[in-house]
């Protein structure tokens, strides 16, 4: 793993200490854990009384009430669960665009979210696209311990999903971090990601070069993923057309997210520090 990525993971871990992952109510169910669930459970936090029904654990009968009223009453306690965060990272080469902050921003943002999830007593899994989705080594540990976060795939996340989809935890919070720069209909992928999830957040991470067309002149464009080349003379009309295409792409993803109940935001890699408020706006992070 590149030192830059490693350093970015550490920076993101430090940055994530200030935040906690915002867990939606529907996600408060799952494996037994340290977080109060939405159902009655076996924690020590009292929740309510109810009349005894056959099959209830006799250990939770309030014998004092039975003594006073001769009625069997069960004490209900809150359930303690462990919510889960699935970080789905775009491992294609486009996220490793040379001469940009894009790979570092990806690592930093992933580490930040993982740390914020830990602050929210939330387990996490980090999935990296490639020849199918694979969990990165040590992803359940702190981000500085992650390994093999390498952005070298020539496949888009959509293609990776077709090869081997990630095994996403049910009722978990899922966050897709990608530049979303591939052709195709985003709705299908989003529906599969949204299926069984408590919440789905799509973070479009773009380099400033992606958001802003290059300066005027003749350019030989090289696709970072496929290596295809295209010679283009950039002028004002071409730059305007590029901006329109980007806007149309973002609008297509935003519409698909809206249909799936997902939240989407766009972050410029070079402006990551100032863009964290956008993550609060989509109710992904909250100050700890």
């Amino acid at each position: 793993m590149e030192p830059v990525i490693r350093q970015a993971l550490r920076d993101g871990e430090q940055l994530g200490l200030r935040y906690a992952l915002q867990i939606p109510q529907v996600a408060a169910s799952g494996w037994t854990g340290s977080r109060t669930g939405r159902r009655a459970g076996s924690s020590i936090d009292f929740q309510d009384y109810r009349e005894y029904q056959p099959g209830d654990d006799l250990r939770f009968i309030d014998w004092g009430i039975y003594a006073r009223s001769d009625r069997l009453t069960i004490k209900l306690f809150r359930e303690e669960v462990t919510p889960h965060l699935d970080l789905i990272l775009d491992g294609s080469r486009s996220m490793n665009l040379e001469h940009t902050e894009k790979p570092a921003a990806l690592a930093q943002l992933a580490a930040l979210l993982a740390t914020a999830a830990a602050n929210a007593q939330c387990a996490q899994a980090v999935w990296l696209s490639g020849e199918g989705f694979q969990r990165i080594p040590n992803d359940s540990l702190t981000p500085s311990a992650w390994d093999k976060l390498e952005l070298t795939s020539t496949r888009t996340p959509e293609q990776s999903f077709e090869i081997m989809p990630p095994k996403l935890r049910r009722l978990g919070v899922r966050v897709l971090i990608s530049d979303l720069l591939w052709p195709g209909e985003p709705l299908q992928l989003l529906r599969r990601l949204r299926d069984g999830a408590a919440a789905l957040h799509v973070v479009q991470l773009l380099a400033s070069e992606d958001a802003t067309p290059p300066e005027h002149g003749n350019l030989r464009m090289v696709d970072s993923e496929t290596g295809a080349e295209s010679e283009i003379y950039i002028d004002s009309s071409v730059a305007r057309q590029y901006a329109e295409n980007l806007a149309q792409l973002q609008q297509a993803w935003a519409d698909a997210c809206r249909q799936c109940g997902a939240q989407m935001t766009t972050i410029i890699a070079e402006n990551l520090a100032t863009s964290l408020r956008d993550l609060e706006t989509i109710q992904l992070l909250t100050p700890s």
Binding site: L181, P214, G217, N245
Partner: protein, 583 residues
């Protein structure tokens, strides 16, 4: 139209053109750039994949604009000059100002036809600059150089055709001098040129006259004749046929006298008659014909000026002789107060307006029989012969300052001088007892000359009737003079002195106000040459040479290249601003 380069070395600046091209080639070569995906660039046509690719240099429009602007600036720096044909020459119009152009034919005068032609000329091919010259008795430039027909038309208001003759040759000479042999000259008149073969390639002679029948008053005068005025009217028939016309004469308030004149072809008839001296203005008119200007004459009473003479001679015999002589001239006034002339035996004092005639009494006298030397150019010597005359006088030389008029050897017999106030002091070295001059015609002639000279030096008009175009002399003594023309135009002369020559640009009665007095004089159209319309003609003589092919002038073309370069740079600026999204 091969351009001539003033500074050909400036072409070295064309070396900047390959520099500019190199800059663009280096700047516009395809730079490699990795992008996240080409998905957003798919609107651009893709290069054909595979095989050896020939990369065509893509240069923007700005490059070609800059290249062209640079080239234009370099060419402008060389100072190119083109020989361009000059198709339009300045025009100088010589206008015949004689009154014959007022002759009406078919309801339109020749002057009107000239104006119509000139307007059509301006509508068809307006010259870049136009000057007008009036050819009257003397050529006169009319206004400044004008360009448009409206300006020319406003100047033509001064073209009134009242001149008794038209000096076209001097006017054309003046036009040639003004035009420096480059301008086209157009002569507008009513008769053909003296030489119908016009060799000047810049001269066009246009005539719009017609040979019309015309009967005119060609001579009219009214002179003092004792206690009556003698009038002369001369009527001429300029047509080739006999003409009958009525002459109406209105003398003062008397009933008009109408007489029928039957004139043979080219006949002129003189009418001489006397009218009382106290009769007012005499008006003579002929029946209307083609030219109305010469059908009428007005004659004012002649000016009768007399000299007030004071006789201060002590010699009774001599005084009687002089008195008889003065009476014979008819120019002596009855009054003697405020004399105009004092006759005495000694020279009079200076400081008065009166002239002095000194008949000097001399002691020693010599009688001279000649030869006498007479200054015939002097007003006193007109008609003096002194043939067979014995003139006795003292043998003294003339007084310093006196100019001798009649000499016998070196002895001045008659001398004159002028004092500082303009008065004349005449000295007659004359002894009547030994002379025979007083018995000869030279004696009354001498005194008539003296009085006539004195009258000519007295303030006032010298004549009351003048011909059109002549000058009327007004003697003034320094006061302001206001002259009112027949058309009401007033001309004021402040602080005049001496003789004032008054122009007579049109016929009619002129009023002259001098100090507290008012005088009048009449101007009549009396010009037989111009009243004769038989020589009038229409046609064109001469033609302006269409030499635009030969007349090439070096014209700087720097401004053309500079203007184009500026336009290109402005377009360049607009394109750059538009490309950057600057509005």
């Amino acid at each position: 139209m091969i351009p001539f380069l003033t500074y050909p070395l400036a072409l070295l600046a064309l070396a900047t053109v390959p520099v500019l091209a190199a800059i663009y080639i280096l700047r516009n070569r395809f730079r490699r750039r990795q992008v996240s995906s080409l998905v957003l660039w798919r609107f651009q046509p893709q290069s054909k994949p595979g095989g050896a690719k020939v990369h065509r240099l893509q240069l923007p429009l700005l490059f070609f604009l800059e290249l062209l602007a640079l080239t234009l600036l370099v060419v402008a720096a060389t100072g190119p000059q083109w020989k361009l044909p000059q198709s339009a020459r300045p025009l100088i119009v010589v206008l015949d100002d004689s009154f014959s152009l007022q002759a009406v034919n078919g309801g339109l005068s020749a002057q009107g036809r000239c104006k119509i032609f000139l307007e059509k000329l301006f509508n068809r091919q307006p010259p870049p600059a136009t000057r007008l010259i009036l050819a009257g008795t003397t050529p006169r430039v009319l206004g400044a150089t004008v360009k448009s027909w409206s300006q020319v038309n406003s100047l033509l208001a001064e073209w009134k055709c009242w001149s008794p003759n038209s000096e076209l040759e001097p006017a054309m000479t003046l036009a040639a001098e003004l035009g420096k042999q480059q301008a086209n000259i157009l002569v507008l008149t009513d008769h053909k040129p003296a030489d119908e073969k016009i060799a000047n390639p810049r001269l066009k002679w246009m005539a719009f006259g017609a040979p019309l029948d015309n009967v005119a008053i060609v001579n009219a005068s009214r002179t003092a004749f004792a206690d009556q005025d003698r009038c002369l009217l001369e009527v001429a028939n300029f047509s080739g046929n006999g003409q009958s016309t009525r002459l109406t004469v209105l003398a003062g308030s008397n009933a008009p006298q109408v007489s029928l004149l039957n004139l043979a072809a080219h006949e002129s008839r003189r009418l001489v008659f006397n009218i009382p001296a106290n009769t007012g203005t005499l008006r003579a008119a002929l029946d209307a014909d083609a030219l109305a200007a010469d059908n009428e004459a007005q004659l004012l009473p002649p000016i009768r000026q007399r000299v007030r003479v004071e006789m201060a001679l002590t010699n009774a015999g001599l005084a009687a002789l002089v008195n008889r002589t003065l009476a014979a001239t008819g120019l002596r006034a009855a009054l003697t107060q405020n004399p105009d002339l004092i006759i005495r035996e000694s020279d009079g004092p200076t400081g008065t307006n009166a002239w002095n005639l000194c008949l000097r009494e001399t002691g020693a006298t010599n009688a001279y029989t000649g030869p006498f030397i007479v200054d015939t150019s002097h007003p006193l010597a007109a008609g003096i012969a002194l043939d067979g005359v014995i003139w006795a006088g003292s043998a003294a030389t003339n007084v310093p300052g006196d100019l001798p008029v009649i000499l016998a050897g070196n002895v001045p017999l008659l001398s004159a001088r002028e004092d500082i106030l303009g008065s004349r002091h005449l000295t007659l070295n004359f002894n009547p007892e030994l002379s025979t001059v007083q018995n000869t015609p030279d004696w009354p002639v001498l005194f008539w000359n003296l009085l006539s000279w004195r009258i000519s030096e007295m303030p006032g008009l010298k004549e009351s009737n003048a011909r059109l175009g002549t000058e009327v002399t007004l003697k003034t003594s320094g006061e302001a003079v206001t002259v009112t023309q027949p058309d009401g135009v007033r001309t004021a002369f402040a602080k005049t002195g001496g003789d004032l020559a008054l122009d007579t640009p049109m016929p009619g009665i002129y009023s002259v106000v001098t100090g507290a007095g008012t005088n009048e004089f009449s101007v009549n159209v009396l010009a037989a040459d111009r009243s004769d319309l038989s020589a009038c003609a229409s046609g064109q003589w001469g033609q302006w040479q269409e030499d635009t092919a030969q007349r090439l002038e070096q014209t700087s073309a720097v401004w053309i290249f500079g203007l184009f370069a500026l336009g290109l740079l402005a377009a360049h600026l607009y394109l750059v601003a538009a490309a950057k999204g600057i509005k």
